[in-house]
Symmetry: D2
Amino acid sequence: MTVNVGIIGATGAVGQRLIQLLDPHPDFAIEALTASGSSAGKTYREAAKWRIDAPVPDAVADTEVGETAPEAVPDDIDLVFSSLPSSVGEVVEPALCEAGYVVSSNSSNHRRADDVPLTIPEVNPDHLDLIEVQRDERGWDGALLKNPNCSTITMVPPLAALDDLAGVERVEVATLQAVSGAGYSGVSSTEIIDNAIPYIGREEGKMETETRKLLGTFDGAAVHWHEADISASCNRIPTIDGHLENVWADTAADVSPDEAGAAMTDYPSLDLPSSPDQLIEVFDEPDRPQPRLDRNLGEGMTVSVGGIQETTGGVQFNTLAHNTLRGAAGASVLNGELLLENGYL
Amino acid sequence: MTVNVGIIGATGAVGQRLIQLLDPHPDFAIEALTASGSSAGKTYREAAKWRIDAPVPDAVADTEVGETAPEAVPDDIDLVFSSLPSSVGEVVEPALCEAGYVVSSNSSNHRRADDVPLTIPEVNPDHLDLIEVQRDERGWDGALLKNPNCSTITMVPPLAALDDLAGVERVEVATLQAVSGAGYSGVSSTEIIDNAIPYIGREEGKMETETRKLLGTFDGAAVHWHEADISASCNRIPTIDGHLENVWADTAADVSPDEAGAAMTDYPSLDLPSSPDQLIEVFDEPDRPQPRLDRNLGEGMTVSVGGIQETTGGVQFNTLAHNTLRGAAGASVLNGELLLENGYL
Amino acid sequence: MTVNVGIIGATGAVGQRLIQLLDPHPDFAIEALTASGSSAGKTYREAAKWRIDAPVPDAVADTEVGETAPEAVPDDIDLVFSSLPSSVGEVVEPALCEAGYVVSSNSSNHRRADDVPLTIPEVNPDHLDLIEVQRDERGWDGALLKNPNCSTITMVPPLAALDDLAGVERVEVATLQAVSGAGYSGVSSTEIIDNAIPYIGREEGKMETETRKLLGTFDGAAVHWHEADISASCNRIPTIDGHLENVWADTAADVSPDEAGAAMTDYPSLDLPSSPDQLIEVFDEPDRPQPRLDRNLGEGMTVSVGGIQETTGGVQFNTLAHNTLRGAAGASVLNGELLLENGYL
Amino acid sequence: MTVNVGIIGATGAVGQRLIQLLDPHPDFAIEALTASGSSAGKTYREAAKWRIDAPVPDAVADTEVGETAPEAVPDDIDLVFSSLPSSVGEVVEPALCEAGYVVSSNSSNHRRADDVPLTIPEVNPDHLDLIEVQRDERGWDGALLKNPNCSTITMVPPLAALDDLAGVERVEVATLQAVSGAGYSGVSSTEIIDNAIPYIGREEGKMETETRKLLGTFDGAAVHWHEADISASCNRIPTIDGHLENVWADTAADVSPDEAGAAMTDYPSLDLPSSPDQLIEVFDEPDRPQPRLDRNLGEGMTVSVGGIQETTGGVQFNTLAHNTLRGAAGASVLNGELLLENGYL
């Protein structure tokens, strides 16, 4: 049985990746596309400034793009993927849920809300049932599910493995983030060539709060956030795709680099269509992972780790993920698959 | 009175910057240049693959380059600037000191030796007198003075200000380093375009040990290293010049971002010709300093700081310095000026 | 005697360069700044996203920015430098001239108009007197003077030298243009990192027509365009500043590379404050000029040429100029100096 | 029937691409690998600094690398792929042919030799039989077949289509070449970041001569070079893969852009395993092809063309090909397939 899906915010950097992932998807069929008013009425090929290094899929090239609004989504859509600016998502997503749609969203609005599940399916799939609480409280027939920010997703799987092993108490993380994370027009070339920018507005706060929610525990009624103290420093660098992060993690129990690496390697993946065979790939070479060489591992859904070393308080390691695949569009698709597997569609 | 100086290792990235700084210098006159055997006998213009965006100074363009060896340095040279591969410096520098030359060196050999001063003139000028101990122990008429590694120099001035204010106990630092730090052929373009490399061999160890020596105390007989626990993670990124670093510093006493910023701003510079008016420039804008915009502040000798924030254990901040000026050639020239002011020439 | 100048369009990439050049200028004093409505009322420091690697000059940092409109320019302004989007310049510049202001403009509107002089002062200063025709026809007290497009300026000086020597009949030119030529937001980093774009809208036409007007002859009544057949292919590449161009020029008379190089080297500069000592620097090294190494020659006002070779029909050579200095802001300032010297202020 | 192949020069940029293409090849099985002396005796994984964004194929990872020399190639090898520095190829390749091996080579030595076929299989497959002449003259049991330089391959297919249509008489071409074309260490990052280099030693001559040989006619005894006058200007830019070229082609007969585009689109491909379905893809969008977006078309074996415009003498267009796939490793593999199809193996 095929699930009819719509993509709202279909022309941006993440929207294009959603198209790329959903076009060949075994369970999902793209049936509606929306974008901002200036794109409405055009074909997708005309509306999108396509920036992926493969042609626009034939199945959507001539699809007419609607204007993003609840009424632009046809009734027979079972699942809506959302990749909107958060100020738009803030308004449109609840309206869709109210109207009965199930929404898997990459937008940053609502991520911290008490009754909105924030999930990485391999890490905290049990949080999904927070939807029951959400429906009770909001009276929605639909549902709103969020995936985290791309820089958060890059570090949480290895931190989850480490937390299970030895208890994470304090985290410092410095990021080296690709320009695609800011969208197609987010970072001007005059800003970033031969340069780095040591600040990404609100990104640091997202990494600190989302990580604690993802690593928290759900007791059937609420998510109790993890107590770890997390401090992030975010940098933009001149790479196209792939966020690289240097992480220091202090742990409650002593842990050797070998033990940490084994826990990460053994951290289980899932059987969902978009989940990679190996969730966390641990490199022995000290100079890996690197964005250009390793961002496409597991079709962009594997998280790579390397350089694990002992520190006074725990371990230091580097982690990398493809920010618009594992970190955004792929995260939303995976959440959609989790919804399907758990009977929410 | 003009001091006659020689430059050994004159054709590399740091050697070229030494030429650029010493050509117009008020006290130093370039009188000898050496390089590896393949350059010997050529004019400097022929020998150096000049990569600075200003012409080769006329005064050295036609100077014949000698082969690096103690005997290649004329007797009337008062001060030798050294920028050699460490394996060469290891052999040549002691031989020069033995032969009576005073050497201001940027090479990494001998930096950790008990009787070799490692100085940033504005930070620990008193360590210079370790030369007396050195001469006693080694029986040298000459002397060997070292400046630290470029990535170390970038963070030590603000850390010194913070240490004076509140006592630094623990430091985590992630670096975003420019390619010129590896020399002209150190990083291939095929490695670094659209990429970042999360490992620079031996760099992390240098940052950890050199910082502790620089912040240590000299009691007239020995330098007692600072006790701070320092953990560095070094990354190469596609920038030409300027190392940017994210620093977390835990302090013994509580310190607010404002107090930390004031201590850095007020940290005194020196009256040496190459010392900038303002040693540490503190930015209010959260997205500064940036390598391309700020590396040339104070003619490349100012260290820039920004993004100072409170953390659980102390403060987080970003720091930037021009790696081949403040971090290498300028550091050696400044050390030469310190030697002159203190009567060692 | 100091000339009071205003800058309209003061916050963009070229506007910032105008500030940088005019702040220390011996004859011109900045007395008014305007920008688009969103900047009006702010100080210049607040309004401009300053992207030059030197601080905002103190003299303008706290100047209030007015909104671009004829009435925003005070009466005591003698000369207006304009760097507006052409659609805005189309309207505002004639209104200013009507109101009696002399305008030196970098905007692309009006460049092809029969009664508007388009000048590179070292190449066709005599075209300036087309202003007399302009005033007659339009009834203006003011005057409108244009400098060409940055990519045109890069090739015209060497072509002018060659035309004087041997008569240029046909030109093919491929450009490798820096991102700053498109303004601060003109080229997204997601478009250009690890990429090149073989098309710059309308740029090819500008190179073809402006070159013929610049190399044309002015008979006191009209400019007769040069007859050369010019074909341009324009590419954007990931460089910050400096346009590099490969030029093939067929000539009427035979010309050797040595003769061509000598004619370029000997092509005279002017005594205007912003004119470089050497207008065209000819390199012997085949791999020069290069954007990063040579764009700042002559404080960014020298045009560099290299790789001169014989072809079947004439010569092939490469040429480089700093696109926002020689190619834009510096070109306008130089035109302002030409106006002053010729008594138009 | 599987053909046993060896790769000599297996660890470089092109060697790695040969591995990538041959590992899954339907007809060829990798049975021997050689490299320079410093790699000999190591496993391939140890010897190669693998730079492709996919893991080293398991089938070769643990293969022992031999030292490049005729005797290092086992007897049961039917076809040798060569990607050696030309000074090494000059010596080793003839020795292999003498010893009876058939060699498909990407190295630049021997490309201009009268009795060595230089082929792009879709363009001049009939030149292959020059091997008969070669064997007669040299007394070889083996054979030597060459593919052209990467920058040549990028422009020859569209020129061949145009030549068939209207007769090409004169060509000017400016290239924007990726750094991988110089091998892994060929271009230092300090040379090329924020820069372009308007000269690639000997590249211009290769484009001029190889193009004429490829477009020449083979009469069973010799190749008669095409008479077109070709002038190339070669530039290196900061892209990883993909050579973009601006071409001006004067033609004997008048030709419209539409006719030129149709001739290119219709230019036939072959049924060889590595030949793409579409040899030349013609874009309508004026800003395509672009290296990052279009280099992987047809799995890196399609040549892309765009921006076709009329000029005084013919047409101007832009062309792009993946320089280490279509332009090097893929070209050699395709030549190997041509040898197999024509009974030379």
